[in-house]
């Protein structure tokens, strides 16, 4: 086995933009802003309802674990959350915007704010592991040097072997490829991270490293949504304080099921109250807290430039 990279001593600097509003408020109160809200989301495939009227919310700095048996609808739900799958009904609100109301040309600008690990993550086989991770930051407009440094940190964080950093992905083992994809989803601590079975095929050490990296992303203010059918990985996340939602037949059947109204904030409350979150009256609408430039249309290049993201 290749030697692991040491974990970074200090977490990388948090990116500006979407986080700035979150930081100022979350520092003083336990109130958190919902980065992702799904409202009555349903999705059918080949005539079968895969996700059935699911409503949930993931706040900044929160890890939510979606559990469920095979075919429960986890992957579809996570795909919807990551703006990769369009649901048949409901609302998908990321950063305060209903993305289903956006033009398709705006969708890339939503996706670059989401670190998504699909069930079978695509990688560029003839590029190195490092370059594959750097691509996520290239799309977000980071400069090459900072992208390289952040990508190395991200690979370290998930326990990727140092010697394989410059090896083409096509020459890596299945587990190493999985780690590259996880590192790419979490690099740069995007506002929303959606991981579908991040621990699949990994050994115990790697699973632990991935869970720790998710904890680091959480502490950086990312909203993390993770689907896993692996009990040991779920146990790791639960120990680290992740919220758990249970899916069965496409419907939420357990955990912190909740309905969040548009513009409301959510606050974690003790589990003995029977609900994981309480709806609190809005101080200001969530839309106002967000960096508008995160969701601009492709045509509005000036607005994007003004935001300093490109």
């Amino acid at each position: 086995m290749r030697p692991r990279l040491p974990l970074p001593n200090t977490p990388p600097a948090r990116p500006s933009g979407l986080y700035s509003q979150i930081d100022s408020e979350a520092a003083n109160t336990s109130t958190m802003m919902a980065v992702l809200r799904l409202e009555d989301v349903s999705c059918a495939r080949h005539g079968r309802t895969v996700v059935d009227r699911v409503s949930l919310s993931v706040a900044a700095g929160q890890v939510t674990l979606v559990r469920g048996a095979r075919g429960a609808g986890k992957s579809t739900l996570l795909g919807i959350a990551a703006a990769a799958i369009r649901p048949g009904a409901g609302s998908v609100i990321i950063g305060g915007r209903d993305i289903l109301a956006l033009q398709s040309s705006s969708l890339p600008f939503v996706r670059r704010n989401v670190g998504y690990l699909p069930p079978e993550p695509p990688l560029v086989n003839d590029e190195s592991a490092l370059e594959n991770v750097m691509l996520a930051l290239a799309v977000r407009g980071h400069d090459v040097i900072s992208a390289q440094s952040s990508s190395i940190d991200s690979l370290r964080a998930v326990g990727f072997p140092e010697a394989a950093t410059h090896v083409p992905v096509g020459d890596l083992s299945w587990g190493e490829r999985r780690l590259v994809a996880v590192a790419r989803a979490m690099v740069g601590s995007p506002p929303l991270i959606v991981l579908d079975e991040p621990a699949a095929g990994l050994d115990a050490d790697d699973r632990e490293a991935v869970a720790m990296a998710m904890g680091v992303a959480q502490s950086m203010g990312s909203a993390v949504m993770c689907g896993s059918a692996d009990p040991s990985f779920a146990a790791l996340l639960t120990q680290a304080g992740a919220e758990i939602v249970e899916l069965e037949g496409g419907r939420l059947v357990g955990g912190p099921r909740m309905t969040v109204l548009r513009g409301d904030r959510v606050t974690p409350v003790p589990p003995e109250d029977g609900a994981a979150f309480a709806v609190v009256p809005p101080q200001a609408s969530a839309e106002q807290d967000l960096d508008e430039a995160d969701l601009v249309d492709e045509d509005d290049e000036d607005a994007w430039s003004r935001s300093g993201k490109r």
């Binding site: 890339p108 996706r111 670059r112 590029e127 370059e131 799309v139």
Partner: protein, 300 residues
């Protein structure tokens, strides 16, 4: 993806997947080479044809009862036939003088013509046609028309010479069509090879970039840039090859063809070279950005 990343992605695309770009550059090089070769053939044809045409005459022998005035009037009429460059009335004395001169040049048989009377050879019209690629066909057609005119006893369309001319022109025509066929094949290769190769090899990268939130324009940009630069590189290398070929081969080609005088360098006009290179650049851009899998359905 900003410009720095676009350049970086382009460099890496060239390094990782050179085949589509080499195919693109090579195809453009072939296209330009064929264009240049066609230009050389055209220059040779332009140079050789008038010299061949100089020796091609249709000669109409007039009947004995045709007076000089009538012959001149007939020459006027024939000179107005389209494609006729010049008509000259040759009387029997001049015809005999020519025959003597020719016999002398062939070597010492001119004495046999000493006893020939002045009016032995018939008066004739010597018709010279304009030099075009259809010279031989027009000569035959004109001969047919002249035979039907009263006062003309016989027409010599120089069938032997025309047959030789026809074979030369046929050769040039065949060469031209071959070059055209090759240019068509090269044109198809320019379009198809990089498109097919690019679409096969870029599946993964497109899947990754769409997942990460790159816009369609951002995905295409590095490949468009690489395509444009490959096409220009191919075109420029072909110009260089043609230039060197012209420098080294033109004198020997001129010696073989005899009448061909090679033009000064560059044998293709500067503005034509510039135009072809700019066309290659934009065609390369276009092909480069389409040499990738479809983005339909990836942003739904």
């Amino acid at each position: 993806m900003n410009f720095d990343w676009t350049l970086r992605r382009m460099q890496r695309a060239v390094k990782r997947q050179p085949a589509p770009l080499v195919a693109l550059g090579g195809a453009f090089a072939l296209l330009v080479l064929l264009m240049g070769a066609a230009r050389v053939v055209s220059q040779i044809a332009d140079s050789v044809l008038p010299r061949l045409a100089e020796n091609v005459h249709v000669i109409a022998y007039l009947r004995d009862d045709m007076t000089a005035d009538k012959a001149q009037a007939l020459a006027e009429i024939v000179s107005r036939v389209p494609g006729v460059e010049r008509v000259r009335a040759v009387d029997s004395a001049e015809a005999l003088a020519r025959l003597r001169a020719e016999a002398k040049s062939m070597g010492g048989v001119a004495e046999f013509l000493d006893g020939v009377e002045e009016g032995f050879l018939p008066r004739s019209l010597e018709v010279r046609l304009q030099a075009t690629t259809s010279l031989s066909e027009r000569a035959v057609a004109l001969a047919e028309r002249l035979r039907r005119i009263p006062g003309i006893a016989e027409v010599d369309a120089m069938e032997d010479g025309l047959a030789r001319l026809r074979s030369v022109l046929g050769l040039l025509r065949g060469l031209g069509w071959s070059l055209f066929g090759l240019a068509v094949v090269a044109g198809v290769a320019v379009l198809v090879l990089p498109l097919v190769q690019g679409r096969q090899r870029r599946q993964q990268e497109v899947a990754v970039l769409t997942l990460l939130g790159e816009t369609p324009a951002g995905i295409r940009r590095p490949w468009a840039l690489a395509g444009g630069l490959s096409a220009v590189a191919g075109a420029l290398s072909a110009w260089l090859v043609l230039w060197l070929a012209h420098l080294t081969l033109s004198s020997s080609l001129a010696a073989v063809l005899g009448s061909w005088v090679p033009g000064p360098l560059p044998f293709v006009a500067w503005h034509e070279m510039l135009l072809a290179t700019v066309v290659a650049l934009f065609a390369g851009f276009w092909i480069g950005q389409r040499a990738m899998p479809s983005l339909k359905g990836r942003y739904v």
